[in-house]
Structure formats: structure tokens, C-alpha cells
Symmetry: C2
Subunit: 347 residues, 2 copies
């Protein structure tokens, strides 16, 4: 019999098929990612040598002595050429009758993960992946200072079915003048839980997963990857830091390489098990320090109750009317089975 399961972090119910779960091979029909196999593509704006085809570089991890917007970089961050939100201007809040509006101020950047057109996260050296994570951190630290922004969301679209339009490996970030709905929901629940129990709900959840072990995919000294109990999607994976870190920037530099190892491991398992599926991942970190009412210029509240994490969503199924209309997902693969398949992959 199927089971309705509730995710304790987001309070989201999911219908999980608990018998006859779909096997990895049942998802063979998914349109592949069909990524370009060339290491260098002359027309690609993200390839080395084409730096003038992008907006100016914001930050880069580059060889000593090379100039910005020229070759010699390992990871490079630029503004998105077609931004969803605009960086210049003041935040204006307004309203008409029942409607609320905020001017579309924000930042929209691209993190080019490697100069090589065909080098995916699952295949790159750990030291390279570490530089990608370094770039995430640098940009969050920098953008967090902009008091117009409430949140910085780092995310990745891999494969056309996951919404990417450029093959060259890249992540994106969008800074928004509001805290996004899903993050707020997680934060609200975590805060309530802490007030009730003086414990972090994310830490408790991780402890329960480490005890149960049925949904674990990978663990190392500092990080744990598991298929969540109420997975919305087949083979969904979450990565948590073992110690309580509210924001991504809190990772000590010496732990970041372990995160690179964890991320690479699970992406490689997904790739090998599911024929290089399209996927999205998102980094949920704590919201930026918030303003205090009545104390303009004083920015106090830091969301210590939060516990940053990465959510990886392979795009194997299609959303249909029921999911759109209800917010209730139907997942044809029990996470216990998904985790078992993932653990069995020989990486």
C-alpha cells in the first residue's frame, strides 16, 4: 500500500509508493542530458578564451598574474547576461488594493565551474570542485553585505530537461529582496522546534537518519548524504553538514574539500545509476541578517536556527495537474530503495 509521509522540516506531505517501487532502469525513458562532448567550443561564451563574450568578471580563481576577463582561470563568476532581477536601483515597496509589489531588484550571477566545456562536477578533480564551492562562498559573503537583499540562492540546472540552456558546466545564484517561500517555511519550522526543544530539527533529523541507516547514501567525517524520508522525487538526495552550521559560509576551509568529496560522490552515483540524468540542486543557507523594525541601520537577527544543506533533485518524472494543484507530490520510488541502489553503485 502507498504511504503518505510528512517531511518534518517543511511539513510537506508526499505520497510514496512503498511496494513495487520503480527501479533505476524504469527511468530509462527520461530524455538524456545529451551534453556536448567537446572540451572547447569556439562559440561558447563560457569557454576559455571567450571571456569577452560574457559580462565582466566579478571574481575568479585564477593563476597568479593573469588579468581579469582573460584566460588563466579555474572558476569564474560573471553577471547573468539575461538577469531575472536587476542589480541597480532602490527597493520600492508598493501596493494597490489587495496587491503587494516590490521592485525587481536583485543579483543574478553565473558561476562557470571550469574552463573545460565537457568537464562535469561528477568527473572533475576534487580540488577543482573545491574551487567551485569557494566561489559560492565568496559570492554569498560579498552579496550578503548588500542590505537590499534578504536571501542568496545558489542553484544548478544540469541538462535541458532541468532547465539549462548552455551545456558548459555552470551554476547560478540569485539574490532576492525577499526570503523565498520554501526557505522561510523551513526556517519557521526550525525556529518553532528550537523554541520547543532547544534542539536543531536538522540535527535531530540527521541523527535519526544516521541511526536508521536505511536511507543513507554516503557519509564522511563532516558530511552526510541521504534520501529524505518524504522524498518528493525518485532518487532525491540531501546533503547535511554533521555539525550545526546555520550558513554555508560557516564551513571551515579544511572541511570544504570533504563537501567536494561528498557532492562528487553522490553526483557520480546518480550519473552511473540513472544514465546521466538531468538534475537540479539548490543550496539552502540561512537568510541574510535581517533589519530590525524601528532601528534603521541596525541589522541584528541572524538565523542561527537554520542548518544549511544541499537538495539534489534528479528530473526523472513530470509534474502534472495533481502536483500543481495540491502541492502534494507522488513519488513512485521509496527512498529506502533509492538509497540502496545508490549505495550499491561502484564509484
Amino acid at each position: 500500500m502507498p504511504e503518505l509521509r510528512k517531511d518534518p522540516i517543511s511539513d510537506r506531505w508526499v505520497v510514496v509508493a512503498t511496494e513495487r517501487g520503480r527501479r533505476p532502469s524504469d527511468f530509462g525513458g527520461v530524455e538524456g542530458t545529451k551534453m556536448c562532448a567537446e572540451a572547447h567550443v569556439p562559440t561558447c561564451p563560457f569557454c576559455e578564451g571567450n571571456e569577452k563574450k560574457t559580462p565582466p568578471e566579478i571574481v575568479a580563481y585564477r593563476q597568479f598574474g593573469t588579468a581579469p576577463d582573460s584566460p588563466g582561470w579555474d572558476v569564474r563568476v560573471t553577471a547573468n547576461k539575461f538577469p531575472a532581477l536587476i542589480a541597480e536601483g532602490e527597493i520600492k515597496r508598493s501596493g494597490t488594493g489587495l496587491f503587494d509589489m516590490i521592485s525587481g531588484i536583485g543579483a543574478h550571477e553565473v558561476i562557470i565551474e571550469t574552463p573545460k566545456h565537457n568537464l562535469t562536477l561528477a568527473e572533475m578533480e576534487l580540488s577543482q570542485l573545491d574551487k567551485v564551492l569557494w566561489a559560492y562562498k565568496q559570492r554569498i559573503i560579498d552579496l550578503e553585505k548588500d542590505r537590499r537583499f534578504r536571501y542568496i540562492l545558489v542553484f544548478k540546472n544540469y541538462g535541458a530537461a532541468a532547465g539549462t540552456s548552455l551545456d558548459h558546466p555552470h551554476s547560478q545564484l540569485i539574490a532576492t529582496p525577499i526570503t523565498p517561500r520554501y526557505v522561510k517555511l523551513e526556517l519557521t519550522n526550525a525556529r518553532q522546534y528550537f523554541q520547543d526543544k532547544e534542539r536543531c530539527i536538522f540535527c535531530d533529523l540527521m541523527r535519526q537518519e544516521l541511526d536508521a541507516r536505511a536511507r543513507l547514501v554516503y557519509e564522511n567525517e563532516y558530511f552526510v548524504a541521504f534520501c529524505p524520508f518524504a522524498s518528493r522525487f525518485p532518487f532525491e538526495i540531501w546533503i547535511f553538514p554533521r555539525s550545526h552550521q546555520f550558513s554555508f559560509q560557516e564551513i571551515p576551509d579544511d572541511q570544504r574539500m570533504q563537501l567536494a568529496g561528498c557532492l562528487k560522490d553522490v553526483l557520480k552515483r546518480l550519473k552511473m545509476l540513472l544514465n546521466d540524468p538531468p538534475f537540479n540542486y539548490v543550496l539552502h543557507t540561512a537568510p541574510n541578517p535581517a533589519p530590525r523594525p524601528g532601528r534603521p541601520g541596525y541589522w541584528g537577527t541572524i538565523e542561527y536556527d537554520f542548518h544549511w544543506h544541499i537538495e539534489i533533485i534528479p528530473r526523472l518524472t513530470k509534474m502534472a495537474g495533481f502536483e500543481w494543484g495540491s502541492g502534494l507530490y507522488i513519488n513512485p520510488s521509496p527512498p529506502e530503495e533509492a538509497a540502496k541502489y545508490l549505495r550499491e553503485v561502484k564509484v
Copy 2:
């Protein structure tokens, strides 16, 4: 400049491009619905004459004297052969540590909208569409009596990209042992609004749209269709009854034909403007009467604060990491422009 807009019903923020919105022709790249053009397909389980290929008929609008599960019907409802939830059994609630579970009890039915394989809602006679709406009502009234169910969601997937696997025109319904998240959110806000103002938020929203007129698509004596102010998707359309009706079952029979007219009109406009796009629609009606704590057997609370409506979502864009991770949608088409294009279609 783009604009963040908040939907007053669901409190959902959306990033709306307000300049240079994408025109209808910009969505030409969407994979078409490619529906089968034959009026009768011998292998289709939903075609007339193939009634034995489906589970037994639950209800049908059929010619006098014809037997169930035989030809002679206009609209036919059967159980879904591959149900997401199982009809037989008791609701069992359980928990382990942080996790909550409910047994996957529910109903999953198919409403076959016509015996003709290629007759879409946008093309059928109003009297036929009225029978489809009649079937929705009959099934809701019947399933609502089952005290295990909290909600009955009617929805439609049109086209493979919208998640349908069978071309033959059909809708579905799923009865669930919980009230789905999105409905609960709308209800919570509507209830709060009513407590504050003693007015229905849906009625107020409709009044504002009828005053502004910029987002109106269609109206008749009893129904109004408009592109919502904070449309999540390009060319999203909502249909509201003008009078305050909390549940779909409340529509008087003589008004139902007007709803058929409204629904057909907007679906035809979408079809003509956007090259027969894939779409989903969902019917949001009030949750079933709820149990009262401490009064077993006494079912009291009826959600009068709700105001039923239909949400139509053309599937023209892809969800990517940002939307999955934030719950914040990016809509490249301002609803004011979408509504203008839709109004200009010669139906």
C-alpha cells in the same frame, strides 16, 4: 524593470517581467500536444465499445436503457487502473521519531469526457462539456460522504508535456486523507481575511479584477476568467464564480452551462493563441466537512470561507533549480499582456 508581485490568496511571490514580455509566438518552441486525430482507436481503453478494458463504471451519463460498461454513454467515470492511492482499508496514522505517516487510502478516478477519441474540451458542444462538469459534481458529492477523505481534487492533464499518458480526453480526481497543502494555504488566508474584514478574499479579489479590467479574459452572467495579478506561469488563467460559492457542488444546475461556456471559451483562446499548448487545470473546491475533536461521529466544520475556482496552467516554460529551491516563480510574460492577447483572439 521586473517586479515581485504577491498573490493575496496564497501569499506566493512571483517575479514578473513587466517589460518586453514574451509574445505568444515566442512560445512556439514548446513541444506540441500532438494529440491523435482519429475519432475512434480500437486499442484505446476509453473509446466507445472498449468499456471492458477499464475498471467497472462508477457513474455515467448514458442513454436511457443502455447497460453499464457498454456503449451508449456521453461521459463515463471509472477507477484509475494504476491508482496513486488505494480505496480499500482504514486510515492508519503512525509516527517514528520525527516522521509522520498515514496509510495511502484514497480514491483515484478517471472521468472520460467523451466517447470520441479526438474531441477536446475546446471543441466539444456546450451540452457535452456540461455533462463533464455534471460528472465532477456527482463524484464530489458521492466521495465527500466517505469520512476517510478530507479532500477531493479534480484535475486535468492535457498533452504529454503536461503529464498525460493517454490521448483520449479525460480528467481525473484524487480523494486524499489530508487537505492538500496549497488548498490549506488558500483556506487559511481566506479564513484570516474573513475574520479581519467579514468579507471573502476571493470575492474582493474578483471585484478588484473587474474594476481594473486589465487582466480580464472573459466574463458572463455567472463566471469571470482572468490572468491573476501574480501569475506563476505565462498565460495562467483563473475562473471564479461571481457569487460566493464555497464548494463546486453549490453551482445551481442552470449556472453550470455558463461555466461550460466560460471554460470552453478560455481553453479555445489558449488553443488558438498558443498553438494548442499542453496544459493542466485544477479545481479548488472547499475541503470536505471536517471531524470535530472530542465529538466522534459528529462532522461539523464546513469551510464557508472558501470560494471554489479553477486554475488553468499552460505548460510553456520549464521549472528549473531556482523555482524548485525557492518556491518563487519567474514569469516572463506580464499577465496584463497575456490577458490582452487572449482577449484579442477571435473565438
